[in-house]
Amino acid sequence: MTTSPTSATNLVRAQEIYARRLVHQLDQSADQLPHAVLERLRAARVRAVASRKSYAQQTAQSFQQMGSTLAMSPNEGSSTWSKLISFLPLLALVLGLIGVHELQNDRNAHELASIDQALLLDELPPDAYTDPGFLKFLSLPSPQNTDNR
């Protein structure tokens, strides 16, 4: 039998109808599976659902661990040692700042002392006697000069 172009749609429809009737038969076949097979399928299903549950739990645990690591939550180390260890970085930071502050103070004091020492120990340069202002200063009567006389 040859199909004309006008009956092409009907042909496809007929194929569909035949296929639907066939799979209806197959549905009956699927409903008549042996008990052993049904049990195996049920066990497989239960196992798959359980694996999904364990996957969800693992995911939740990993998120929780990540969170407690970031937040340094008390769960991570409930013992005194763990708490002390968690404060070590902060303690080191404070000690470091104190050390830097002390060092800076020492350096400033040393610089000031050096300047004072230089001023006190430095001799009068010879050029100073050519300076008229300095000569005038020398000629002025000072309390020390008066006392000496």
């Binding site: 009907n10 007929a14 066939l22 799979v23 599976l33």
Partner: protein, 188 residues
């Protein structure tokens, strides 16, 4: 994300057909059960975060791939040649007597009676035998399209082929089944 209950209900709804579908391909009950179990595990382990609406398509795809993997593992010429390389179905007589069939088959034929229960069981066996004889791609397209009730585009996505190929495979499958069953005197 599909809940545990949604996943369980979904698997319960598809497990029988999945087993039969796999059995038609591999023709080994133990292997078919293993394939279905592997497919369920893969779905649960790798796609647990997907919404429930995506599960049917994902599962069909996984089942197809797991079945394909089973064939690959067999590494026997017979398995490969008889199930994957026989796409040379003839086009001649493709449109033979579908119209004749559709105009003569009564709608009440599916109704059961005490007299024909045995013959229906026999018919069912013969239908399954003919289904197993189909080339793998035709059988896969037929089962996905009509038994799993996927549309053409979904079937194409599940099989990894074009929609045109799905239509061709389905048409050839139905034609081959009808020819074979008619030769056996079975009218659906």
């Amino acid at each position: 994300m599909a809940s545990e209950l949604e996943l369980a209900d979904f698997l319960k709804g598809v497990e029988k057909r999945a087993f039969k579908r796999s059995l038609y391909h591999v023709r080994d009950e133990e292997a078919a059960l293993d394939i279905v179990q592997d497919s369920m595990m893969k779905l649960a382990e790798h796609y647990a975060d997907k919404p429930a609406g995506e599960l049917p398509m994902l599962f069909q795809r996984i089942l197809s791939n797991t079945t394909l993997d089973w064939f690959r593992r067999q590494k026997t010429k017979n398995a490969l040649f008889s199930n994957f390389n026989d796409f040379e179905a003839s086009d001649s007589g493709e449109d033979m007597d579908f119209l004749e069939f559709s105009s003569h088959t009564p709608d009440t034929q599916m109704s059961e009676s005490a007299e024909n229960t045995v013959s229906q069981a026999q018919n069912l066996q013969e239908i399954e035998q003919e289904l197993k004889k189909l080339p793998a791609r035709q059988r896969e397209a037929f089962l996905l399209r009509y038994w799993e009730e996927l549309d053409v585009s979904e079937t194409a996505a599940a099989m990894g082929c074009s929609e045109g190929s799905v239509k061709t495979h389905c048409s050839r499958a139905v034609h081959a089944l009808m020819t074979a069953l008619k030769a056996r005197g079975i009218h659906i």
